[in-house]
């Protein structure tokens, strides 16, 4: 013990929780997920009781892993339904190293365990929202309250969702196999979609606690990194997704001003964009180009990179972005993509063309409850000088958003509409 060490690495417990659960579920099987989580929980509790008075051990990870293993072995000896597997489980734990310092095999073991868990948590037999909750709980060490905060739901609802998930795991049953052969592509796709959703929950500024959302982005990136670092997940599409996440997260800190007010892309201080993360993204973008497939992640990563590469808003390669959006609308016909494409059209061909493009979009009704739809429309109408209609749009958008900083921004725009409208009337009067 080292009593002089009196602080822990950020999120150490959460990280170690994920590692312990990965190791323990390998031993017990996913149908005993609860046992793994209990042993992990007890290891952390033991740390609180001991490190507080005695200081942090030289190798906290190894300390925790050893406690969790011992706890797991206690459970094996005590509970009769594990009796038949006692020898097997004891051998499993005895063969496993406890930390990277003890053995180079440790990192591999953990990565392998986490990869198996990722595939299991993102199994197509679970609903997408269950996949996300289960991933956060088991792989990321999130608590139910934290998951609930990220998804603006109650702790009880998340707890219920996790209970159902565990039942479903046993019913299906979902195991910790790494998919291979023809099944791999579909399973990998499901994983990528779920991790993409996880990232977007964090990235979109629609609701929830700012800090929690940033952590969701970090976790999504960490998990895709585990994926691409393993031969099973080292695929162009996974690299494309990772590139996309990195390009977007590099710009996160510039999205709001010092008071927390949202800034438009045009208004952001680009010197705040994290160049190191962009460089990381670029490396994965290059690796994503290995195959023939151009997925929606490739296109979105390409678009995000165009933004990252532009020194100013004005010098952005909008034509290239538009061509990427044209391809994206071929794959993804969602009205949200069409809306984003319209914003790009306004930069290439002007606001009238953008308004025409929105008018030509099918299933616009589904966008009516989406604040951004009204905000974009209002922005374009403002640009063509239709301040009265723009005001209606900004007001509707401000009603729909849940984010205070966005509401402040939209109200500011609304006031500008009023001002310009009054000026217009004044000018008309003078002219008349």
């Amino acid at each position: 013990m080292n009593p002089e060490v009196n602080q822990l690495v950020d999120h150490l417990f959460r990280r170690e929780a994920g590692k312990m659960v990965a190791m323990l579920t390998r031993a017990f099987g996913l149908d005993h997920l609860q046992v793994a989580e209990d042993a992990m929980q007890e290891a952390l509790l033991k740390a609180i009781r001991n490190w507080g008075l005695g200081g942090v051990p030289r190798n906290p990870s190894a300390w925790l892993m050893r406690v969790a293993k011992n706890r797991a072995l206690d459970i094996v000896r005590r509970e009769t339904n594990f009796r038949s597997k006692e020898k097997e489980l004891t051998a499993f734990f005895e063969q496993r190293p406890e930390s990277a310092e003890d053995s180079v095999r440790f990192d591999e073991e953990i990565r392998d365990g986490q990869l198996r868990l990722i595939f299991a948590c993102c199994h197509p037999d679970l609903s997408r929202e269950t996949q996300v909750a289960l991933t956060l709980k088991t792989l990321c060490g999130f608590g139910e309250r934290e998951i609930a905060a990220a998804f603006l739901t109650s702790e009880a609802a998340i707890a219920k969702r996790l209970v159902r998930a565990r039942r479903r795991i046993r019913e299906v049953p979902i195991t910790l196999d790494i998919p291979a052969g023809p099944r791999l592509a579909a399973r990998l796709d499901a994983v990528l979609q779920t991790l993409y959703l996880l990232f977007n929950e964090g990235y979109k500024a629609s609701h929830g606690d700012e800090l929690v959302r940033k952590e969701l982005c970090e976790e999504a990136i960490r998990l895709v990194k585990i994926l691409v670092d393993h031969p099973t997940g080292d695929r162009p599409k996974a690299h494309a997704l990772l590139a996309l996440m990195l390009f977007n997260s590099a710009r996160l800190s510039a999205r709001a001003d010092a008071e927390g007010n949202m800034l438009l892309l045009a208004e952001q201080d680009r010197s705040l964009w994290d160049r190191a993360i962009i460089a990381r993204g670029l490396r994965h973008l290059h690796r994503s180009a290995a195959g023939k497939e151009i997925s929606e992640f490739h296109l979105q990563a390409g678009i995000a990179y165009c933004h990252c590469a532009a020194p100013t808003y004005e010098t952005t390669d909008w034509r290239r972005i538009l061509s990427l959006y044209d391809m994206l609308t071929e794959i993804d016909r969602s009205p949200v993509v069409a809306l984003n494409r319209a914003v790009v059209i306004s930069n290439v061909q002007g606001p009238e063309a953008a308004l025409d493009a929105i008018a030509a979009t099918g299933s616009r009704d589904s966008l009516d409850g989406y604040y951004l739809y009204h905000a974009v429309l209002a922005h374009l109408r403002y640009a063509v000088g239709d301040f009265a209609k723009a005001a209606v749009g900004f007001r509707r958008a401000a009603e729909l958003t849940h984010v205070t900083s966005e509401r402040v921004f939209l109200r500011r725009r609304l006031r500008e509409c009023g001002k310009r409208n009054a000026e217009n009337r004044k000018n008309q009067r003078t002219e008349g």
């Binding site: 009196n6 602080q7 822990l8 999120h11 150490l12 417990f13 959460r14 170690e16 929780a17 929980q41 952390l44 509790l45 033991k46 740390a47 609180i48 009781r49 001991n50 490190w51 507080g52 008075l53 005695g54 060490g141 999130f142 608590g143 139910e144 309250r145 934290e146």
Partner: protein, 126 residues
């Protein structure tokens, strides 16, 4: 009774390890609170020493200690998890210093006991 300039007190920690609702992040925050509390005791010169205790142990009873049982096997709430020795002016002061202990966040308890110094006893006996 003559008081020496400072007195030693024993903190006995019990329980404080049943937070089922705590997430790993919450637990790490609790850990940080321990470090902060201990750090303050140390920086103000109150901390003399202390250590956590391992779970379990043996309890000896009987005339020659011949009755040996594993244990104490108390419930989590009762088991002594560790001890500290602190320096304080008097019992009230020692109790005051203990109030910042994060063990209370987890329903644990701290027993504060003055350590009897034999020199004091001699003074009292005179």
């Amino acid at each position: 009774m003559m008081k020496t300039e400072s007195n030693s007190f024993l903190y006995i920690f019990r329980g404080g390890a049943d937070p089922n609702q705590m997430s790993p992040e919450d637990m790490q925050k609790n850990m940080d609170a321990w470090f902060a509390w201990m750090g303050e005791l140390r920086s103000k010169g109150h901390l003399e020493g202390g250590e956590p205790l391992q779970d379990g142990g043996k309890v000896l009873k009987g005339k020659k200690g011949q009755s040996v049982t594993d244990g104490p096997y108390a419930e989590g709430k009762e088991e002594v998890g560790g001890y500290l020795i602190v320096t304080a002016r008097d019992l009230d002061h020692a109790a005051e210093l203990a109030k910042g202990c994060p063990i209370f966040q987890n329903d644990g308890s701290v027993e504060v006991r003055a350590i009897r110094k034999m020199s004091d006893d001699l003074a009292a006996a005179e």
